[in-house]
Amino acid sequence: MSDLLTTDVLTALIAGGILAGVPLLFASLGEMVAERAGVLNIGLEGYMLIGAYFGFLVAYHGGNTFLGFLGGAAAGAAVSLIMVALCVQMGLDQIVVGIAITLVAEGATALIFDANFAESRPTLGATGRIDIPGLSQLPVVGGADTSDGSIFSQPPIVYIGLIIVALTAWTLRRTHWGLNIRAAGDKPSALDAAGVSVVATRAWATIFCGAMAGLGGAYLSITAAGLFEDFITQGRGFIAIVLAMLARGKALWVLIGSFVFGISLSISDVLQIAGVDISTDLVFMLPFVTVIVVLILFGRRSYLPAALALPYVRGAR
C-alpha cells in the first residue's frame, strides 16, 4: 500500500480529477445559474451530448480544438432554445420537456454519428497544453513533464473555465444581472414589479446553461476522450444537476464538487497505476453513493429557489 502515495500516483489522481471534473464543472455551473433563475434543466444530459457531437465535428473538420469548443457551446445553446421556447416562454412542464430533449439528443447523436462516422470512427490528437512558467516545474501539482499534466499544465480551456467560474460568482453576487437572476428564481413577481422581464432573464440564464453544458460536452469528446461515441456522457448531465443542487447556488462549491467527483470518476485508472485492482462497477458506483450519503446527512440543507420549475404567470396566486 506504500505505492499509493508516490508522486506518480498523486499526479495521476489530480490529472484524472481535472480531466473528468471539467465537463462536470461547465455543466453544473450552467445548471446552477439556470436553477437560480428558476429553470430546472433535466435536459442537461442532452445539451452535453449535442455539444459533445458538434464540438467533435467542428474540431475534426476545422482542425482546431478551440473552434471545436466554440462549436460545442453554440450547439448546446441552440438546443436550450427549445427549453426557452416551450418552458420559459410558454410555461410547459420543465421536466417533461427536459426528458424529451435528453431522449431526442441521445437518438439524434447516435443516428447522425452512425450515418457519418460508422466506418471511420476517427480520433483527435491530444489537446495542446500551456505550462505556467515556474509553477509547472513543481512536483505533483506542476506536471510539465508528465503525459496528462497536473494543476499548472493544462489546456487553455481549463484556465478559461476557472475564469468563467470567478466571473459567474462575481456576476451573481455583485451585479444587477446577478440580482435579477436570483430574483427570477426566488420571487419572480418582485422582479416583474421592478419592471424587469422574468421571461427574458430566465431565457438568458437557460441559454447560458445550454452553452456551458455544450462546452462541457465538447471538452469530454475533444480533450478527455479524443473521439465521439454513442451516449458518451454516461449520465454526467444528471451528476451535474445534483452538483448544482448541492452547491446551493455558490460557484465555488460547484468548482470543489466537480473536482471531487472528477477524482471519484477517474480513481479506478489511478489505482491501477498503483497496482490496486478494483472492480470498475464498484468505482462507478462511488460518486452516486457519495451523493446519496451526502443527501441523507445534509439533505435538509440542500438549497433550491422557491420558484424552481414553476412557470411565471403574471398575477397568478
Partner: protein, 379 residues
C-alpha cells in the same frame, strides 16, 4: 357539461368557456393523444429522408418486422414488461411524484432473481418457484425506491435526482452481483447460471407467448381499479392535484409518498421477473433494455389510465421489435427509436399549447404540476 349549466361561470377554466366539442369528449381526447404520435412519425420520416432512407418503406418494415411470421408473438411478449412498468409509473405520476429510477429498479430485481432461480430450480415445483421469484423481484425493486421516497417525504429533496442516482447505483450493483456471487462457474462470459429454456414461464397453448402477458393484463386492470374505484387512488389524485389540500383534508402526505413509490417499485420488479423468467432464463452483465424513459411519455398520453395505456404500449412494443429489423434494413443506428419517443414527448408539449385555448380533451399534465412543495407541509 357546460351546456347544461345556466349560471355563467366566474372562473374562466378551459372546460367551462370552450364550446361543447362537436365530436364528443372521448373522440376529442383520442385526437389529442394521437396527434403527437402522428406528428412524431412525420418528423421522424423527415429525419429518415435526410438520412437517405425512404420513410414509407421504413415504417412498412417496422410493421412487417413486428407482425409478420412469428414476430407478433415477440411484440405481444414485449408488451408485458412495458405494461407493468406503465402501471408502476401511474401510481407515482398520478400523485405528482417522479420515479425515474426505473432502469436501476428493473435490473437489480432482475439480477437478484436470476441469481436465485438456479438455487430454487429443481428443489420445488416450477409454479412455486415462479411465485417466489415474482414476489422477490417485486420486493427488491420496491425496497430500492425507499431512499428517494424517504428523502422526498421527510427532507423534501427532489426525487427526480435521487431516483436517477439510485438507478445508477442499482445498475452497477446488478453488475457486481452478476460478476461476483451469481456468476455461472461454467461460463467464461459474465452472466448468471441459466435455467433451461424448456422450464421458463409456461406459454399460452398454441403460441410461444408466456403467461407474463396475463400477469401484465391483470396488473393493468388492478391498477385501473385502484386508481378509479378506491380511496387510495383518490388520495393519490388529491396529492397530485394539490399537496396543500391533501394535508388539509388529513391525508398523511409523507406516508402516502413512500407507499406510492414502493407500489411503483413493486410493479417494476414484476416487469423484470416477467421479462427474465419468460424470455431469458439468465442475465448477462451490462444487459440493459433501458425501457424506463421510453414508457414515461405513454403514461402521459394515456392520462394515467392503465387500460388506455395498453394501445400505446402495443405501439411502442411494435416499434422496438419491428424497429430493429427496419433500422437494420435501412442501415441506420437502431437508436432511432429513442429519437421517435423523444419527438412524441416534444410534440405532446406542442399539442398541449395548441389545445390550451381549445377544448381538445383533458390535459396530459394535470396532477403532475406541483404548485406547492410538499416540504412545507411535512416539516
Amino acid at each position: 357539461m357546460s351546456s347544461e349549466t345556466t349560471a355563467p361561470s366566474v372562473t374562466p377554466g378551459a372546460g367551462e368557456t370552450a364550446p361543447v366539442p362537436a365530436l364528443g369528449r372521448f373522440a376529442e381526447t383520442a385526437i389529442r393523444s394521437l396527434v403527437p404520435v402522428l406528428l412524431a412519425l412525420v418528423a421522424g420520416g423527415l429525419v429518415l429522408l435526410a438520412l437517405g432512407t425512404n420513410p414509407i418503406t421504413f415504417y412498412a418494415n417496422v410493421w412487417s418486422g413486428g407482425v409478420d411470421f412469428t414476430a407478433w408473438e415477440d411484440t405481444i411478449m414485449r408488451m408485458a414488461p412495458l405494461t407493468l412498468i406503465a402501471c408502476g409509473l401511474i401510481f407515482v405520476f398520478k400523485a405528482g411524484i417522479w420515479n425515474l429510477g426505473i432502469d436501476g429498479q428493473f435490473l437489480l430485481a432482475g439480477a437478484v432473481i436470476a441469481g436465485l432461480a438456479p438455487e430454487l430450480y429443481g428443489n420445488m415445483p416450477d409454479a412455486l418457484m415462479f411465485f417466489i421469484l415474482f414476489v422477490v423481484a417485486g420486493v427488491v425493486a420496491s425496497v430500492w425506491t425507499i431512499i428517494p421516497a424517504m428523502l422526498r417525504a421527510y427532507y423534501g429533496v427532489n426525487e427526480i435526482i435521487t431516483s436517477l442516482m439510485t438507478s445508477f447505483i442499482g445498475i452497477n450493483l446488478a453488475n457486481i452481483l452478476i460478476k461476483g456471487p451469481f456468476q455461472d462457474a461454467a461460463s467464461n462470459v459474465p452472466q448468471t447460471k441459466a435455467i433451461p429454456f424448456t422450464n421458463l414461464l409456461p406459454t399460452i397453448p398454441g403460441t410461444r407467448i408466456h403467461v407474463g402477458v396475463i400477469v401484465a393484463a391483470l396488473a393493468a386492470v388492478a391498477t385501473w381499479y385502484a386508481m378509479s374505484r378506491t380511496s387510495f387512488g383518490l388520495r393519490l389524485a388529491i396529492l397530485g392535484a394539490n399537496a396543500r389540500a391533501a394535508t388539509h383534508v388529513g391525508i398523511p402526505v409523507a406516508r402516502l409518498i413512500i407507499v406510492s413509490f414502493m407500489v411503483s417499485g413493486l410493479f417494476i420488479g414484476l416487469a423484470a421477473a416477467s421479462e427474465i423468467m419468460g424470455i431469458w432464463g439468465y442475465v448477462r452483465a451490462d444487459w440493459n433494455p433501458a425501457f424506463g424513459l421510453l414508457v414515461v411519455p405513454l403514461v402521459f398520453l394515456a392520462r394515467f389510465n392503465a387500460i388506455a395505456v395498453i394501445p400505446f404500449v402495443a405501439a411502442l412494443a411494435l416499434l422496438t421489435i419491428g424497429g430493429d429489423f427496419a433500422t437494420q434494413e435501412a442501415g441506420i443506428s437502431n437508436e432511432f427509436t429513442l429519437l421517435l419517443v423523444g419527438l412524441v414527448l416534444l410534440f405532446m408539449g406542442v399539442t398541449e399549447l395548441l389545445g390550451r385555448n381549445r377544448n381538445l380533451g383533458a390535459s396530459y399534465l394535470q396532477g403532475i404540476r406541483r404548485k406547492v412543495r410538499v416540504r412545507e407541509e411535512t416539516s
